[in-house]
């Protein structure tokens, strides 16, 4: 059992939790993930490490409340425990030796991009961050990004904050203004990452993407998280979750992500009903 020591709603649909997990906190690195089960009968879901405090022995997770399991997780309060918390899994993002990097995050993906930007910044790398949200209400982690970025561009779909437009427009602009990057690291919805990779290719830039497919065990056993990367089958849990953006088959990954959509809708509704009853 893993105690929740802090819980903050970053926006109406995104929650940050700080979880007591000293062994994982000691080892976790940016880019790695955790398998979480809120309750004994819950599904196992992967959540990327959003931060850690090695001394306090805590790991941060930031999640969007999108389905049954994340609703269950969000129903837990400070002082209560998540049933299972396994990690740190996957390979850490390789940040060594990089001099100038653009980090591109979208939506809740920014939560995963932040520790990577932070680590790069601490290594003395020049960090340009581009973060995108649908609207101002959904904006998260602005101050945190400011603190570790040499330049920060905020984009919103509706123009309610920052600049109106998509993240690739900001990336284009930064490159066209003469910025040369060793690497572009992008984390967010698949469709966004696909277009960030295309933009990078246009400018001859290398890119790394962080994949978050359906998983069960997270240790290489089920093969549910398989992706086609450079024509080969790779498991996101043990070979990733970071992959060379140029090589990932995004269309296939997007299709696989919809496999349980009808079930998920049903599970979400069931969780809603159950949690509402408890509130009453």
């Amino acid at each position: 059992m893993f105690k929740i020591t802090e819980k903050v709603a970053l926006n109406p649909t995104v929650t940050k939790m700080v979880i007591e997990a000293p062994l994982i906190a000691k080892k976790a690195k940016p880019g790695q993930f955790i398998i979480v089960r809120p309750f004994e009968d819950s599904e196992r879901i992967p959540l990327t490490v959003a931060g850690y405090d090695r001394e306090a022995g805590t790991v941060d997770i930031i999640f969007q409340i999108v389905g049954g399991t994340t609703m269950e997780l969000n129903s837990l309060k400070v002082g209560e425990c998540v049933h299972d918390f396994v990690g740190p899994l996957g390979r850490a993002t390789e940040t060594e030796g990089l001099k100038k990097v653009c980090v591109v995050g979208g939506g809740v993906g920014c939560a995963i991009a932040l520790p990577i930007a932070r680590e790069l910044h601490e290594q003395g790398c020049v960090v340009h961050s581009v973060v995108g949200f649908r609207s101002k209400d959904l904006l998260i982690l602005e101050d945190e990004f400011k603190a570790c970025s040499d330049e920060l561009r905020i984009m919103t779909d509706d123009g309610s904050y920052g600049t109106k437009g998509v993240v690739t427009a900001a990336l284009d602009e930064l490159v066209e203004a003469g910025n040369q990057y060793d690497l572009v690291i992008t984390i967010g919805p698949l469709i966004m990452m696909k277009f960030v990779v295309k933009t990078c290719q246009k400018h001859g830039l290398k890119s790394i993407v962080s994949m978050n497919p359906i998983m069960i065990d997270g240790t290489g056993m089920c093969g549910g998280c398989r992706l086609t990367v450079g024509g080969e089958t790779k498991f996101a849990c043990v070979d990733g979750p970071d992959f060379d953006g140029d090589l990932v088959d995004f269309d296939e990954a997007m299709a696989r992500g919809t496999m349980y959509r009808p079930f998920e809708a049903h599970a979400r509704e069931a969780a809603c009903n159950l949690l509402n009853q408890e509130v009453k």
Partner: protein, 464 residues
């Protein structure tokens, strides 16, 4: 005492095939005491005990069977218990026809003695009738760690605990049991039996640490240097599923058998209350011919599929699955498409599996494995309409331990290299056994390896 000269084994009572293929309750119901005594009397008590030499853990089979014939079931249990820590499991899942029963003298002319069925009877009888608290062995003051709570790890843990070691078992999943929990379905091995074996170890003082992925959260070096374990046993299994590499394998509706069975067994997706989804479809093709393929096919049927095919590239005689599983699968209505191999999987407009193109095969000369090599028949392609495909092609050892343990030698297949039969690895104090060493094999072989390693670890620690 008169021998029972019946040429056939006493049949195993089972659930009716057309009833059981719709539920997850155990298929085989077990012998009654009368049946067991009767079957035990078929054993002629060979002096040279060929059956014992066929048992990977060396159970004194004629001795335990003689006790069954006398009706002294507890004495029989004590004989088995000297050599095997999981008899209720092995009686159910061992491939007896290629082990003990394959060497039975009665089997030369007639059916062999039903050794597996008797083992199961004895273990079940003991579980239901004897409730003595297990003896907690006196501590010898030494600590050992076991990585992986599957058959190899549980056996090593049990044997070391009996010798007085303080044993901690680290398990990556949220429950202990390994393949006995996530792989083998409830209808073949009830999970309550596995849980009881694990609880027995706990009562003996064995600690279980679940949710611990060794190699990630702690390394073997840390276990030995910082946690003070004097020896470590690696029984991390062969969990990584293989795929064929044919077009369409990443379509929606294509599973590895590991994923399909993990959803069903570990995450209980077969229960309506489970929060983990499973998409079984109506027409299912399971590719492969081993026990795991049979488990996946029979689970699919129970989960509501109308038609389930086993697609296997060799013939019925070459199926690597236990004979009883093949028979049970046939009785339940699984359709065997043998000498048949998939070459491509096709999708409908929504990206879900619609059909597979298969090619017919014929058997050529024996290959390196000694089995006749399947060869494609040119121009024999045909279409099989299915909406789910389950790939059951075997597994490879998990890379997490080898990639994080410097100096641990592995071979080109990723299997840990061991010296002799005792599981000694290239790292001092580190032992290994089970599928992590052999690649995918059987529960009993893993148990045999765990047993041998426990003995070697004890010798190593005592000689330090």
């Amino acid at each position: 005492m008169a021998f029972n000269m019946d040429p056939k084994k006493c049949p195993m009572p089972t659930q009716d095939p057309m009833v059981r293929n719709k539920n997850f309750e155990e298929v085989a119901l077990g012998y009654t005491a009368e049946m067991a005594v009767n079957e035990a009397k078929r054993c002629i008590g060979c002096k040279n005990k060929p059956c014992q030499s066929g048992c990977p853990v060396g159970i004194d089979i004629p001795e335990f069977i003689a006790h069954v014939a006398e009706g002294d079931f507890e004495a029989a249990y004590q004989v088995i218990n000297r050599s095997s820590s999981l008899p209720a499991v092995c009686g159910r899942v061992c491939p007896q026809e290629s082990q003990c029963e394959g060497k039975c003298t009665r089997g030369i002319k007639n059916e062999p003695v039903g050794i597996g069925r008797l083992e199961r009877f004895v273990a079940d009888w003991h579980r239901e009738n004897v409730h003595t608290a297990p003896v907690v062995p006196a501590s010898n003051g030494h600590k050992v760690a076991i990585i992986g709570a599957g058959p190899a790890g549980l056996t090593a843990a049990g044997d070391l605990a009996k010798m007085g070691y303080k044993v901690t078992v680290y398990e990556a999943l949220h429950v202990a049991g390994g393949v006995l929990m996530y792989g083998i379905p409830e209808f073949r091995l009830p999970k309550a039996i596995v849980q009881q074996e694990i609880d027995g170890l706990k009562k003996m003082g064995v600690d279980f640490e679940c949710n611990m992925v060794i190699g990630k959260v702690l390394t073997i070096d840390e276990l030995m240097e910082e946690y003070g374990y004097e020896a470590v046993f690696v029984g991390s299994g062969a969990g990584l599923p293989r795929f064929m590499g044919i077009p369409g394998e990443s379509l929606k509706g294509v599973y590895s058998a590991n994923e399909f069975l993990t959803r069903s067994n570990l995450m209980k997706a077969y229960l309506p209350t489970s929060k983990t989804p499973i998409r079984t479809g109506n027409k299912v093709a399971v590719v492969g011919g081993g026990n795991v393929a049979m488990d996946a096919a029979r689970s699919a049927l129970r989960l509501g599929a109308d038609t389930v095919y086993i697609v296997y590239r060799r013939g019925m005689a070459e199926l690597p699955a236990r004979k009883e599983e093949v028979e049970h699968a046939e009785e339940e209505g699984i359709i065997f498409k043998t000498l048949c191999n998939p070459v491509e999987i096709h999708s409908n407009e929504e990206g879900f599996v619609k059909s597979i193109t298969c090619v017919e095969m014929e058997l050529g000369e024996p290959d390196a494995s000694g089995r006749r090599r399947p060869i494609e028949k040119k121009g024999s392609e045909f279409e099989l309409e299915v909406d789910t495909v389950i790939m059951s092609l075997g597994t490879s050892p998990n890379p997490l331990i080898r990639s994080t343990t410097p100096g641990l030698e592995t071979n080109k297949h990723g299997c840990i290299v061991t010296e002799g039969d005792e599981g000694k690895t290239s790292r001092e104090g580190v032992y290994a056994g089970g599928d992590a060493v052999t690649g995918a094999a059987t529960v009993i072989k893993a148990m045999g390896a765990g047993k041998a390693a426990a003995k070697a670890m004890d010798e190593y620690i005592r000689s330090k």
